[in-house]
Amino acid sequence: MAYKIVSSQCTSCSACEAECPNVAISEKGGTFVIDPKKCTECIGYFETAQCVAVCPVDNTCIIDTAYPRYQAKA
């Protein structure tokens, strides 16, 4: 139900933090992390996940398979 940030790839540029419509992203220990409880995969806001679209390093914001995919509430 959420994206996560691969911390070894994160440049800590903060671009994702400002774009997240759920305010789910914050800085922690030098890189950025996504709060899985707040992330909606941008469903209900935008066509594509904003953190993925703005991140300068490919494959850094990825689906966290530890959580089931987010389902928009009916």
Partner: protein
Amino acid sequence: MVEMIAQTSSLSIEDVMQQVAEHKGCGTSGGSGKASCGSSAGQGDLPTEIWEKVKNHPCYSEEAHHHFARMHVAVAPACNIQCNYCNRKYDCANESRPGVVSEKLTPEQAAKKVVAVASVIPQMTVLGIAGPGDPLANPAKTFQTFELVAKGAPDIKLCLSTNGLALPEYVDRIAQYNIDHVTITINMVDPEVGAKIYPWIFWNHKRYTGVEAARILSEHQLRGLEMLTERGILCKVNSVMIPGVNDKHLVEVNKAVKSRGAFLHNIMPLISAPEHGTVFGLNGQRGPTAQELKVLQDECQGEMNMMRHCRQCRADAVGLLGEDRSAEFTTDKIMAMDVNYDLEARRTYQEAVEEERQAKVAAKHEELAKLAGEESDISLLVAVATKGSGLINEHFGHAKEFQIYELSTSGAKFVGHRRVDMYCQGGYGEEDTLETVIRAINDCHAVFVAKIGGCPKADLVKAGIEPVDGSAHEFIEKSALAWFKEYLAKVASGEIVHVSRGDAQIRQGALISAA
């Protein structure tokens, strides 16, 4: 001089003074052709309000860059586009060289740093925000920093450097914060060319790629430029010269930005090496040679003024261009500093610097007058080892860069600089390094230094470059023109034969600060 003053008697004393000080990195004013700028022609020179903006801005005035310093604060890490010459994983190759990671600052830390640096370096007159991402992709941090600096250090000029994507949105805010210098990096006006430079942009909550991305970016850049110049904000355009991609196209870019009121055009060489991890570095895209760069700059010079003194500095640089004192001002050191911001002392110091600058210009005129009447088609390049102030005041072995002047009977013109690895490391010279120094200034006939050892001297002579150490601590242009006059006399008498020099290399590796 008397004549000039007589001709311009309707002008104010400030107008006359600015002509005397002969500002060089100056502007264009609509229409085609290069505006004259503080030249002896006098007429059509910079209006006083523009002169006030550029006279102590090292990036906008070649003249000023010998005397005044600038600093960048790295408060803007986020970016909204991807460039093939930039690798954010290791910081931007052009703005913050690889291997030297900038310290990110909060707006509060940045403002404290500016005040601290301005207290220690009274000739520091300009604060710029240039990244390491794009300032306008970090609007809150960027504008808060400007606001805090304007309060703490009101005499400092504010400027920013942007890729232009978000520019139209923020032009009014830029004007509101009295930011009167904006640099836009424009590498193309043709989206087909742009698609080879920009893999994607992020705009309006969406990632765009290819030609569409480049088209949106180009529209925003040119519209932003027009909006800024309409509001009287001075604009410099930076372009990265990428051989085989946009090198020939930059002539069109030059015309497009000139017609939209850009003040100055800065064509910079691509910095590209595999170790930077950039797309261009990894696919073997080369940067231009020194002569390729100069030919393009000369071609555009007919259209508008070209910046030749850019050092492609880091997003956290501090000091004169070409000098990096950022290591003296780390966050830890700043927080421990006892800062006393003395506006009056800064003003007095800057007045002294202005006098020094005018002395330099007067010395040049004196020597130019001696050249009057000489006629020759010979034009050649010389390299100069300098620490600043327009003087030949650096030892050959300690030089981290050489400034390049083009000499002809019409005068000495600054046309660029070459970075090198210091030849002398810890008291002894490195032969390998000497070879790279020679390659970097191989298109020069002579090198002017404050001092030079016997060994490198002999090797330079062997390479056909004359080492000149007889005018240590004298003004560059005056000494260079005096040497040129003698050179012409020797050619005329048949003592020497004038031969053209070859090309030179632009250094590509990371410049690790030796501080």
